[in-house]
């Protein structure tokens, strides 16, 4: 089982954004994509999900083209529907699939992300961290094989961010999925990932794939942790 990105290229008019991206992520493992702002990370995720067409190359999951129903997408901005409560936002993807048990299933996921008390709140009544959790829950609710996460924690303060990272790993432990997590925060990548894919400046190429073999929960101050951080920092500069 694996998610394979094969030689994917993409330009917007004259602007070359992705330049022959290739990497492979093992099934049910956690991969981070790191690269500086504007290098094409969101574009890459949109291509993997099928929202955008690549000019060249392909994306395979278990040897077959990725189907949009296999993918749960967590957006850089939370993109919740302001007129839906927490529960109904989480149920959105299930409703699209005409799932009769949409609300029941949404309630399960609501518990998983620890928002039971906020079931009937509207997005504008939630904190930034809670909103991101709703966004994650909405993606998890459809039980996707692949979870694409686009800098979901970028807008959060450092403390909330660290807590959300730990929570995300817990959820991932329970709900084994192939996760592709985009970030430009090195610390976040080393804390979360089994494998880190480092992208170059635009047009993005894969500079290096780093396997992170540290035991979880990881100690952000350990020598190995700091070592990997340093290596990525050098690759990015």
């Amino acid at each position: 089982m694996a998610l394979e990105v094969l030689n994917v290229s993409k330009s917007f008019n004259e602007l070359k954004v992705l330049d022959g991206i290739s990497f492979k992520v093992k099934g049910n493992s956690f991969a981070c994509i790191i690269g500086e702002s504007g290098c094409g990370k969101t574009t890459l995720l949109r291509i993997i999900s099928g929202l955008e067409r690549a000019d060249d190359g392909e994306v395979l999951f278990n040897g077959k083209t990725v189907k949009i129903n296999d993918v749960g997408f967590v957006f850089q901005d939370d993109r919740l529907l302001p007129w839906r409560t927490t529960l109904k936002n989480i149920a959105f993807g299930l409703e699209i699939r005409n799932d009769e048990k949409a609300l029941e299933k949404a309630k399960e996921v609501l518990k998983l992300v620890g928002l039971e008390e906020f079931e009937n709140y509207y997005p504008n009544q939630l904190s930034g961290g809670m909103r991101q959790r709703v966004g994650i829950a909405r993606a998890l609710a459809i039980n996707p094989k692949i979870l694409l996460m686009d800098e979901p924690f970028a807008a959060l303060d450092a403390q909330t961010r660290n807590r959300m990272q730990a929570e995300l790993l817990e959820i991932w432990n329970k709900e084994k999925k192939t996760v592709l997590f985009v970030t430009h925060n090195i610390d976040e990548a080393v804390y979360l990932a089994d494998k880190i894919i480092v992208l170059s400046k635009r047009p993005a190429r894969v500079v290096e794939e780093i396997e992170v073999d540290l035991k979880r929960p990881r100690d952000r101050t350990s020598l190995e942790f700091v070592g990997i951080r340093k290596r990525i920092l050098e690759l990015l500069s």
Partner: protein, 252 residues
């Protein structure tokens, strides 16, 4: 609240000053006040109807004609917001018709519908329809077009087809525009009916009442009473719809 009370007092005081100064001929506020309350419940002799009955006749016309206008304007507006081609087509026509005030349609309407069994009523419905339709349509189109593309993309990422996107993203996003459109449409419709009633014998209606009171010999107190009720009803309708807005959009 105190400011509002103060504003009303200032208004009445100003009115007294004008009467005392004899710049124009005007009855005292307290006299109009008395006539107003009397006419609310006692039939006025010329037309044999109370002000309340006249008001109900006008309100009835506005509600029917505006309702028809909204039933067409709302779906059309959402569709125009979604299909760029339709928008280009329809807005070309709308932009030509929209600047024509509803009142300018009155003569034409009375001629156009003169052969029908109930020409006056039909013409009045038509004029209110014109008044209510365009503001509502414009407001709905605007709201629908402003649906964030991010939300539409989100729905696509969850594999929503166009119908689902229209019903679960564009339509709810347009709700603000729909409610505002209904509120403004009703307001314009209300102004239009009063004007339309003035130009033809309609038996009842606040506009008709005012006109008749003028024609039988300038009965100022009666005329101002009618105007007052027109103002009050317009104000209450607006207030009611603002309240409804909070009920249908609890997330605001």
């Amino acid at each position: 609240m105190r400011v509002r009370f103060f504003a009303l007092c200032t208004f009445v005081l100003f009115w007294y000053v004008i009467v005392f100064s004899r710049i124009v001929e005007l009855p005292y506020p307290h006299k109009v006040f008395l006539v107003f309350f009397c006419l609310l419940f006692h039939p006025e002799p010329v037309l044999g109807k109370t002000l309340i009955e006249h008001a109900i006749a006008s309100i009835f016309r506005v509600l029917i004609a505006s309702f028809i206008a909204f039933v067409i304007a709302i779906p059309l507006g959402v569709a125009m917001g979604w299909f760029e081609r339709l928008n280009l087509f329809a807005s070309t026509i709308v932009e030509v018709l929209r600047p024509i005030p509803p009142l300018a349609w009155i003569p034409l309407a009375y001629i156009l519908f003169s052969k029908l069994s109930n020409p006056t009523q039909t013409a009045q419905f038509f004029i209110v329809f014109i008044g209510a339709f365009f503001p509502c349509l414009i407001s709905v189109v605007d709201a629908a077009r402003n649906t964030p593309s991010e939300l539409i993309e989100m729905a696509r990422a969850f594999n929503a087809n166009n119908r689902k996107i229209l019903s679960s993203i564009v339509l709810p996003h347009s709700l603000q525009g729909i409610v505002t459109g209904v509120r403004i449409g009703l307001g314009v419709g209300w102004m239009s009916i009063i004007a339309a009633e003035m130009l033809a014998t309609s038996g009842a209606g606040l506009g008709y009442f005012i006109m008749v009171m003028y024609e039988v010999g300038g009965r100022i107190a009666e005329i101002i009473s009618g105007m007052t009720l027109i103002g009050i009803i317009g104000y209450v309708m607006n207030l009611l719809l603002l309240k409804i807005e909070r009920v249908v959009m609890p997330w605001r």
